[in-house]
Amino acid sequence: MILTFVEHEAGVPEDTTLEALTFARDVADQTDSAIEAVVFGDEGPAVADEVGAYGVGAVHAVSHPDLDTYAPEAWGESVSQLVDELSPEAVIAPGSDRGHEVLAHTAAKRDLAMAANCLEVEAGDSYELTRQRWGGTLLEHARLSGETKLLSAAPNEISAEPADDGGEAAVQEFEPDLEESDLRVQISSIEESDEEGIPLGEARTVVSGGRGVGSPEGFDKLEELADLLDAAIGSSRAAVNEGWRSHDDQIGQTGTKISPKLYIPCGISGAVQHMVGCKGAENIMAINTDPEAAIIQKAEYAVIGDLHEVVPELNEAIREETGQ
C-alpha cells in the first residue's frame, strides 16, 4: 500500500496534493499496491470523493481531542503510527512546507531515509529515483532504501490526472496516541497580510529589475510600466542585496516562483537561481544591454539596450495606445 499525505483547504485537496497522488499512483502501479490517504482536520473526510477519483481506496482521517490545528510534530507522529499499523510500501507527500515538515518528522521518528522533491521513481527493493537539487536547476539520480520509502513529489512538475478506474474512497477514523510533547508546537494564531495589489506568484504579467537598474529610483520607471500593464513587480537577488527592493519582490530559488503569461526582466543577467523562479513563465521578454547575457538565451523575445532609455519610451507608447 502507498500512503499519501493529503493537504486540503476546507475539504478541497490542494493542487500539489493532486500532483502527489498522481505520482503515488505511478509507484502503486509499479509495485502492484493500493493507494490510501492520510488527512487531518474536521473537514478532512470531505476529500474522500475527490481523492477517490485519483485512485485512493481508503482515507485515514486523523482525529484527536487535542488536535485542532496544524501541529507538525503531532502530525508527523500520527503518520508514524499509521506506518507502524499499516506497514505501507511508501509514504508520499506533496513537496510543500507542510509536506516536507511532516514527512521529515516521520522520517526522524522511524529512523527512515527521505527523498525530497522527486520527479520519477523506478520502484524495486530500493527505489531508483530522480529528484530536484538546487531548487530544480540540477537533477539527481539517487537510490532510496529502507523498509518504508518516504518521498515528496516536486511541486508544479507533475501534471495531476485522475485515475481511469477512480471511485469512492472509504473513510476510516484514526485516533493517534499523542503525548503532551507531541503537541508542543502548533499554530497559536493566524495573521492576515495587509499586502495590496496582485501577488507576485499569481500575476499574469510580471515586470522585474536587477542590478542593471542601478538605484532604487531606477525602479520608478519599472513601477510605472507595471502599473500600465496591470503587472506585479519583481526583482533579482542582487537588487534586494543592494537594498533597492524588499525580499518580497525576489524571484528565484530562495524567493518567489512565478508563472505569468509574460515576464519582462530588465537588467537581469539570468543566473540559474533566478531562472528557476521564472521557469513557469509562458513568455520572457528580456531587456538587457549585453547581447551575450544568459537571459537572452533563455528568453522568447529580447531587446538589446539600456533599460533607462527603452522603458520610458515604452511607457509613453502604452499610454498613447491605451489612453491611460
Partner: protein
C-alpha cells in the same frame, strides 16, 4: 542567549552549471564558494540575538577543511565562535549529517549548551528539507520550519516564529531551548567589512573529526543538468527603436 547557526559550503554557480566528468559533482574549477541565502539570514539572526541579549553566536558546518572559509564568513559577520565538524570524502546523506550535528550539540548541551539552534530551511545544493527536523528530534527539542519572522522573549523563555502562507502568516510559539529552520527574507544580513574579514582570517575555527554512523539510506548515484531550449529569442531591436516591436508582442500576447 547562546545561539548556534548551521551552514553548508556550496559552489557559487552563475548562468550555467557544468558537471564533473564522473557526474558526481559540479565542476568548481572556475567557481567560488558560498552558502545558502537562508543560512546567511540564520547567521545574521544568531548574531542579532546574541548582541541583544549579551550572549554568543556560534557558526557550525560539517564538511572538509576548506569549509572553514564559510565559517570565517560567519565570523566576519560578527559570530563569536566557529566550529568545523570535519569529515573526508564525498557529500554525506542527510541522516548522517543530522546525526553528526546532533551528537556534537548533545555533547555541548551537557556543558554550557545553546538556547536556540538555527538551520536553513533547505540547503542550497541538496535541498533535502530535513536536517533541522532530524536534529531537533534527536535532541527532543521543539522545531518549526519555513520561518520568515522571529522574535525571542528571553524573560518568558520563548520564541515567536512566523511562517508565510497564502494571504498571511501562521504564528508559532516555542519554549526555549528550541530549533528553527529559516528562510531568506528573515532579516537583511550585514555586509562583512574588509577589516572584519581580515580579523576573521586570524580567528581559530575549532575542528572536530566526525565519522558516519551508518550506511546512507539516500545515496547520490549521479547528477544531470536538465534540458533547456536555448537560443530561440526573437530580437525585437536595439534601444528605444524596439518599442513598436515590443508593442506588437504585447498586443499579440494580450497583456496590454
Amino acid at each position: 542567549m547562546d545561539v548556534l547557526a548551521c551552514l553548508k559550503r556550496v559552489p557559487e554557480t552563475g548562468a550555467k552549471i557544468v558537471l564533473t566528468e564522473d557526474q558526481q559533482d559540479i565542476d568548481t574549477t572556475n567557481l567560488g564558494f558560498t552558502m545558502s541565502p537562508h543560512e546567511e539570514c540564520g547567521i545574521e539572526e544568531a548574531v542579532q540575538i546574541a548582541e541583544e541579549t549579551g550572549g554568543s553566536a556560534t557558526a557550525l558546518t560539517l564538511g572538509g577543511e576548506e569549509a572553514k572559509e564559510q565559517v570565517r564568513t560567519a565570523l566576519a559577520m560578527q559570530a563569536d565562535d566557529g566550529v568545523l565538524l570535519e569529515k573526508d570524502g564525498a557529500e554525506w546523506d542527510p541522516q548522517n549529517v543530522a546525526a553528526a550535528i546532533a551528537n556534537y550539540i548533545e555533547d555541548r548541551m551537557a556543558e554550557d549548551g545553546f538556547d536556540l539552534l538555527v538551520f536553513g530551511n533547505e540547503s542550497a545544493d541538496a535541498g533535502n528539507y530535513q536536517v533541522g527536523v532530524r536534529v531537533a528530534e534527536q535532541l527532543d527539542l521543539p522545531i518549526v520550519t519555513s520561518i520568515k519572522d522571529l522574535e525571542v522573549n528571553e524573560e518568558a523563555g520563548t520564541v515567536t516564529a512566523e511562517r508565510e502562507v497564502g494571504g498571511g502568516s501562521e504564528v508559532y510559539e516555542l519554549d526555549l531551548p528550541a530549533v528553527v529552520a529559516v528562510k531568506e527574507g528573515l532579516n537583511e544580513p550585514r555586509y562583512a567589512s574588509m577589516r572584519a574579514r581580515m580579523r576573521a582570517r586570524k580567528q581559530t575555527v575549532e575542528s572536530v573529526p566526525v565519522e558516519k554512523e551508518h550506511e546512507a539510506g539516500l545515496e547520490k548515484v549521479r547528477l544531470e543538468t536538465p534540458e533547456k531550449d536555448e537560443g530561440t529569442a526573437e530580437i525585437l531591436g536595439e534601444g528605444p527603436e524596439a518599442v513598436p516591436e515590443i508593442m506588437r508582442v504585447l498586443r499579440e500576447l494580450e497583456v496590454l
